[in-house]
């Protein structure tokens, strides 16, 4: 047994530092692979966005303006929940701590969530929900195109499947944005208001950090900034046809992908996680 440093000496801090330098890490615990950690993070970012937006969209079920819309929107929510299962399932695998998709969805607190802030914005009126969906879909579509070309086949496979679903989401949300923008005076006004209100949450989709840089360098996930051009083109095309004005400002709220959220997420989780929290360990 190695001798312990003499705790009574005034140089205890210095001794501790020397000790640490001599034994940089516990020899039996594997060092967290920085790449794995970034990959885990990337999977949470995409999976949490699908989870939180799917949750929001599902709030409409039974309350939409027409039966056909109720059914269509539920399909979108179902797709997003299905994608969540895949992304978070893979995240749990990559993390290697035995956590399932459900563990990740239901047993993390807000600061561990990595979704885009736009996904947690309240539904507002139906136009607001559709505009949020359109802005997200246009990004999601680009993102999944990038991920489908991932050097990691597990990601590529999920992205290919999700990409087909999201192509349809985008077709539908674009179509509705055009129709409502170019509908009545009231529908136009509501859609413009929704666009103005959501605009400051759009920029976050294209802000990268060092984790994104790592993933992009390894060809695992696209650099967020690289998605902007495609997104801009979709927006210009759809919003012009919708006779809506793209807002001027380029201010952007951010932090969701790093775990700093709006107040909304806490309420979403309080609701979503209630049963898992109230009956710990129960099986459903």
């Amino acid at each position: 047994m190695p001798s312990l440093p003499d705790m009574t000496t005034p140089q205890v801090a210095e001794l501790a530092r020397q000790q640490a330098q001599a034994h940089p890490a516990h020899p039996t615990v594997p060092q967290p692979d920085e790449g794995q950690e970034a990959l885990f993070e990337t999977l949470l970012r995409i999976g949490d966005s699908a989870l939180v937006l799917g949750h929001r969209v599902s709030e409409w079920c039974g309350h939409s303006p027409a039966l056909e819309e109720d059914i269509a929107l539920a399909n979108v929510a179902l797709d997003l929940i299905g994608q969540t299962q895949l992304w978070l399932g893979l995240a749990g695998e990559v993390e290697g701590q035995g956590r399932t998709a459900d563990d990740l969805a239901y047993l993390r607190d807000a600061w561990d969530f990595r979704n885009l802030l736009i996904c947690e914005r309240p539904n507002g009126d139906f136009g607001h929900t559709l505009m949020r969906q359109f802005l997200f879909d246009a990004w999601h579509h680009e993102m999944l195109k990038g991920l489908a070309a991932s050097s990691d086949p597990r990601l590529a496979e999920i992205a290919a499947k999700a990409g087909k679903e999201v192509a349809y989401h985008l077709e539908r949300s674009s179509d509705l944005v055009v129709r409502l923008g170019d509908g009545t005076g009231e529908s136009h006004r509501r859609m413009q208001q929704a666009l103005d209100a959501l605009w400051p949450y759009a920029g976050e989709m294209f802000l990268g950090d060092d984790k994104d840089a790592q993933m992009a360098a390894r060809g695992i996930a696209p650099d967020p900034a690289s998605l902007r051009a495609g997104w801009d083109a979709t927006l210009r095309h759809v919003l012009t046809e919708a006779t809506l004005q793209i807002p001027e400002g380029d201010f952007s709220h951010k932090g969701g992908r790093q775990g700093i959220h709006t107040e909304q997420l806490g309420y979403i989780l309080a609701e979503m996680q209630f049963l898992q929290r109230a009956y710990p360990g129960a099986s459903w």
Partner: protein, 329 residues
């Protein structure tokens, strides 16, 4: 059932019938289907509009008590299943409204009658869903009771109604099973989960029995509807069948049906059971159930809040059509 206390019109003895009415009745007796534009007695048409409309309203109001738990479902899979099920109910409402529309009434008109309180929906949806176990109880008992009625209605005399029921029954086959699966999980779970399951059964048992409506042995409306094959079985027949089917399922779960007088009757080959409190039923039908105001309020709100959306899309479609017409000139 989803259509309770449907008042039927024009009950007539055979000797009072016109030759047309006799011919119509004979077609039904031969098992022929009546199709939209064919001649039918006005009473047949009105009764069908009332019944199919009530059935459709029940589907969309029925989305609410379960929709209530979509955002609180305990796992991703349960959330997806519940959402898919509640979505199916919207679809079933849509199919049924379409069937009613073939009788010359529009969906919007029916919606307005619902919102004005002039048409009813099933009493069951005025009960609250208080715990997750209610998702199990609703699927198992409420859908179970509904299926009991809907399966024979596939043979109803009106073609579009019959076809809607066939499609609905096909889609609904998973609904009751998912409810029972929720109950099984709870019944095999922790003591708290088991208590939750029992509590849900306690609250939903009698309201489920009420779904079949009061005894109709003496009801002239039922007699006429049965002659027209709009109604296939009596309320009492279906209720008995439901109890006989459900009691062993409850036993399998290890749950107790909240009826001290429930007893197997060897002679009739079915259970003897207590009647629900019919005064409660009539209170609920009259608007005084625990959730009547909330349920109808939610439907009215969805309708009113959505008006600008429906109008916006209609306006765009008209503008686009006008632009196309102009371009073609």
């Amino acid at each position: 059932m989803y259509a309770q206390l449907v008042k039927s019109e024009g009950t007539k003895a055979r000797e009072e019938m016109t030759p047309e009415e006799i011919a119509f009745q004979e077609r039904i007796d031969r098992g022929e289907k009546i199709e939209p534009k064919e001649w039918m007695p006005e009473g047949y048409r009105k009764t069908l509009v009332r019944q199919i409309g009530q059935h459709a309203h029940s589907e969309i109001v029925g989305q609410l008590p379960e929709g209530n738990w979509i955002t609180r479902a305990p796992t991703l899979e349960r959330k997806a299943i519940l959402l898919a099920k509640v979505q199916d109910e919207a679809g079933h409402g849509l199919y049924l409204y379409s069937a009613a529309e073939t009788l010359g009434v529009s969906r919007d008109e029916l919606m307005k009658l619902l919102h004005a309180g002039k048409m009813k929906y099933s009493s069951i949806f005025n009960y609250p869903t208080l715990t997750w176990a209610d998702m199990g109880a609703v699927g198992w008992l409420v859908d179970g009771a509904a299926i009991m009625n809907q399966v024979p209605l596939q043979r109803t005399s009106y073609g579009p109604y019959s076809r809607a029921m066939i499609r609905i029954c096909k889609e609904e086959s998973f609904h009751q099973r998912q409810g029972y699966a929720v109950m099984m999980k709870l019944a095999q779970g922790t003591p708290a989960q088991k208590r939750m399951a029992q509590d849900a059964l306690n609250r939903f048992w009698y309201p489920s029995l009420m779904m079949f409506g009061p005894s109709d042995k003496d009801s002239v409306h039922s007699a006429q509807s049965m002659a027209w094959k709009i109604k296939i079985n009596t309320n009492d027949e279906l209720r008995q069948k439901f109890v006989d089917q459900t009691v062993p399922q409850a036993e399998y779960l290890g749950l107790t049906v909240p009826d001290p007088d429930l007893k197997w009757n060897e002679e009739k080959g079915g259970y003897d059971f207590s009647e629900p409190d019919w005064s409660e039923f009539f209170d609920v039908i009259a608007g005084n159930g625990p959730c009547n105001k909330d349920r109808l309020g939610a439907r009215v709100k969805a309708w009113e809040d959505g008006a600008w959306f429906r109008d916006g899309l209609m306006a765009h479609a008209e503008k686009a059509a006008a632009r196309r017409a102009q371009a073609a000139e």
